[in-house]
């Protein structure tokens, strides 16, 4: 095992340096690239923190959607491979028109939305938050 700081702490330290020292000291295209670098570090930090539980729940959801028994997997590599494999299986069914309409379409939309939101939790949580806020604002008010 590794000593402290953790990988997340290292990335956050590096990102803070970029934001505090490099971004203000640069201009134009280089400043833009520096912001990209800090953002990339923060994405990776979130991924280290969150990927395991997210891919675990994605594998469960896909298995249920596709009518498989939930696989018992432990390593992150195995979980990722299972998600990708079932993603391909879902792709084939969508291409065959099985999610065009009917009851299963609703289930597919829900599972796909969840996995897209999981990607954004890591890649751009603020985008997800603002999207949810916009969609909530647009919903008609429920009668009490």
């Amino acid at each position: 095992m590794q000593d402290r700081p953790t990988s997340v702490e290292l990335l956050e330290a590096a990102a803070d340096f970029v934001d505090r020292e490099l971004v203000p000291a640069t201009e134009g295209a280089r400043q833009f690239q520096a912001r990209v670098v800090a953002n990339v570090m923060r994405i990776v930090a979130r991924e280290i923190k969150m990927e395991d539980p997210l891919v675990r729940s994605e594998v469960k959801a896909l298995a249920r959607l596709l009518g498989h028994d939930a696989p018992h997997l432990h390593s992150l590599d195995d979980l990722r491979a299972a998600a990708a494999g079932m993603g391909e299986e879902l792709t084939a069914k969508i291409r065959a028109g099985e999610a065009d309409d009917g009851g299963w379409r609703g289930e597919v939309l829900a599972v796909v939305r969840q996995s897209v939101e999981d990607k954004l939790r890591i890649a751009n949580p603020r985008y997800l938050e603002s999207d949810i806020a916009i969609r909530n604002a647009a919903k008609p008010q429920k009668e009490i």
């Binding site: 295209a29 833009f32 690239q33 990209v36 670098v37 953002n39 990339v40 994405i43 990708a84 993603g87 391909e88 879902l90 792709t91 969508i94 291409r95 028109g97 999610a99 065009d100 597919v108 939309l109 796909v112 939305r113 996995s115 897209v116 939101e117 990607k119 954004l120 890591i122 890649a123 751009n124 985008y127 997800l128 603002s130 999207d131 916009i134 969609r135």
Partner: protein, 339 residues
């Protein structure tokens, strides 16, 4: 492609302009490379041209093919499309000369007027300087687009433009399905659902016109007063003009100003209405929606392609790499649109 020494480039460019323009003498000043992305090179310069004792000066831009790049488009074709737009009084740079002879500058290029101004959406949407521009630009962009769709390809000898076949929409969906299958390294069920949605709603083409192909904020030079110039005509083709209308509504160009769907500036209704008034044609809301969904899907596939450019080693760039993590933003928008 070997890099040319600046002195050598100036020498060759001077000679080229003198010959093409039949000038007695030409002087080039302040030749500088502009940030232009991997798929093309853009150079800016001032040009003094003398003939029979009279001197004129113009600010100019040179667009040149770089060495290897994975988008192929033709500089001479782009030159002719911009010239057609200029002749129809659309705000575009005046084009001067084009060359496909690699002996001149190493690859095909053309030279046009330089129009100064701003192009960054972030500035347009946030700076007080552009408050007036924000108000007027949606209608201006609709009117200009209507004019673009009236350009007669026959009159302007644009016979190199590919015919879209019976159904431009189906042609484009199939083109992007193929791109997606080649580019994607992982499954994207959200895109699969969007393709199915589109294939079931292919609209009939009400008109076949010249289509700009990348009409959006980012390809518009503007000032505090509004639009100055429309840029980046390299994707112009024949097709359904609603494709350009839909592209203007793609979420990515709102740059966070999601309350205003058209370029972060205004509503769809206002944009469509201004387009209808200027074009004398009706915007079918279902066709516009098809092309908006298609536009988002197309942009999502482009983000995958840009990440591949880094992943495959064509151009190593942290910016290109990070774009691969933005594909999910477009997937979310597509789910919102098709649910």
């Amino acid at each position: 492609m070997e890099k040319m020494e600046p002195g050598e480039m100036i020498r060759r460019l001077t000679g080229f302009i003198r010959r093409e323009g039949r000038f007695d003498s030409v002087a080039i000043e302040n030749l500088r490379k502009m940030p232009g992305g991997a798929s093309r090179e853009i150079w800016s310069f001032e040009c003094a041209m003398e003939r029979g004792g009279e001197t004129s000066r113009r600010a100019m831009v040179l667009r040149r093919d770089p060495g290897a790049h994975n988008i192929s488009s033709n500089r001479r074709h782009e030159f002719m499309v911009i010239r057609a737009a200029f002749e129809e009084r659309i705000p575009v740079p005046e084009v001067f000369w084009v060359s496909e002879d690699p002996a001149v500058l190493g690859s095909a290029f053309f030279i046009m007027e330089r129009i100064d101004g701003e192009t960054l959406a972030r500035r347009l949407l946030r700076d007080d300087t552009y408050a007036r521009a924000r108000e007027v630009m949606p209608a201006q962009l609709a009117e200009i687009l209507a004019k673009i769709h009236r350009i007669d390809p026959v009159k302007h000898k644009l016979d190199f433009l590919e015919e879209p076949g019976d159904n431009a929409a189906l042609t484009e969906v199939r083109r992007y399905q193929e791109n997606f299958r080649v580019l994607a390294l992982e499954p994207h069920p959200a895109f699969e659902l969007a393709f199915r949605w589109l294939l079931k709603r292919v609209p009939k083409m009400a008109r076949k016109t010249l289509v700009h192909g990348d009409y959006r904020i980012g390809n518009v030079v503007f000032g505090p007063e509004g639009v100055r110039s429309i840029l980046d005509w390299e994707l112009a083709h024949l097709g359904d003009p609603m494709e350009d209308v839909g592209w203007m509504c793609v979420r990515a160009w709102r740059f966070g100003n999601d309350q205003k769907p058209v370029g972060g500036l205004g509503s769809r209704e206002d944009f469509f209405h201004a387009y209808e008034k200027a074009s004398g044609t009706a915007v079918d809301p279902e066709a516009a929606r098809f092309w908006e969904v298609f536009g988002n899907l197309r942009w999502g596939i482009i983000t995958i392609g840009q990440a591949r450019t880094h992943i495959d080693g064509f151009l190593k760039s942290v910016e290109l790499a990070s774009i691969g993590r933005r594909t999910a933003e477009t997937e979310l928008e597509l789910l919102n649109l098709i649910e």
